[in-house]
Symmetry: C2
């Protein structure tokens, strides 16, 4: 019925006891399913993308602007990546970028009024979409999933010694 999917193929070849591999597969599917929904919505509705939204979010939530390095650290991406995304946002008038007077190596990036307006709309849409996508689960089920994921993340971050 549903289109064939690589992960079903993998699942068929997985020993019953591969619990962790199954968990990762479930995580991967769940993530990519939701991410794709968000991505397509942003593309159609705003001709924009999740990386652009992330940069705008970082700037919108930071009062005094951020440097390129701040952005790279916050978003966990390379500095070269930030250079490109910010350049395109600037071309669209959504952010400003000025060289710091104290240290001429430093670029200070701030969100423009149009940028903030767009961000607000995207932000609301994002929340609404997530709510809709997860509407089939009760608050309790959602919170229990959150706890399981947070504990898993914590366990991954400090590997057992």
């Amino acid at each position: 019925m549903t289109r064939p999917y690589l992960f079903d193929l993998i699942l068929d070849h997985l020993p019953e006891a591969a619990h962790r591999r199954r968990a990762w597969l479930a995580l991967l599917r769940c993530f990519t399913r939701i991410e794709r929904e968000l991505m397509q919505h942003f593309a159609q509705e705003y001709n924009s993308s999740l990386p652009r939204y992330d940069v705008l979010t970082a700037l919108a939530l930071s009062d005094n602007g951020l440097t390129m390095g701040d952005l790279a650290t916050l978003l966990r991406v390379s500095k070269g990546n930030i250079t490109g995304v910010v350049r395109r946002l600037k071309e669209d008038g959504l952010v400003r970028k000025v060289t710091s007077r104290k240290d001429r190596r430093v670029q200070s990036v701030t969100i423009s009024p149009e940028g903030r307006r767009l961000w607000k709309r995207m932000h609301d849409d994002y929340d609404r979409l997530i709510s809709e996508l997860l509407a089939g689960r009760s608050d309790g089920q959602v919170q229990s999933l959150t706890r399981a994921l947070e504990r898993t993340l914590a366990a991954v971050n400090k590997p057992n010694d």
Copy 2:
């Protein structure tokens, strides 16, 4: 202590009741954390990538080879994407690609012996890495996470009625 992270910034600005947004944030963090680990390992160890591994996996688990369209459907990516990844795998001698004699539009892609050898190593590594990353969680905890994710995915796939 840990480096500042956009998602912590967002979390600070989130109303207590945004359960679904919190769940998505947790899912996103957990996923990207593990994916990054896999990606870096594949890059360093095999000078390769997850998309390449995915294509090799699809071919390794399919007995008679696959067409470009089959690969695109299985991996849920565009056909143009497959064209590029398969071309590079072919250049590295990991796959073969021959035009079907029945229908000269169709390309039949198969994994080469070297491709299968590499895939086996990557596959074992992949399993091992996932096991290590999730070693801090008990089998029961892992299975409970899997169930929660699978139910969430099912709920996302058939929106509320």
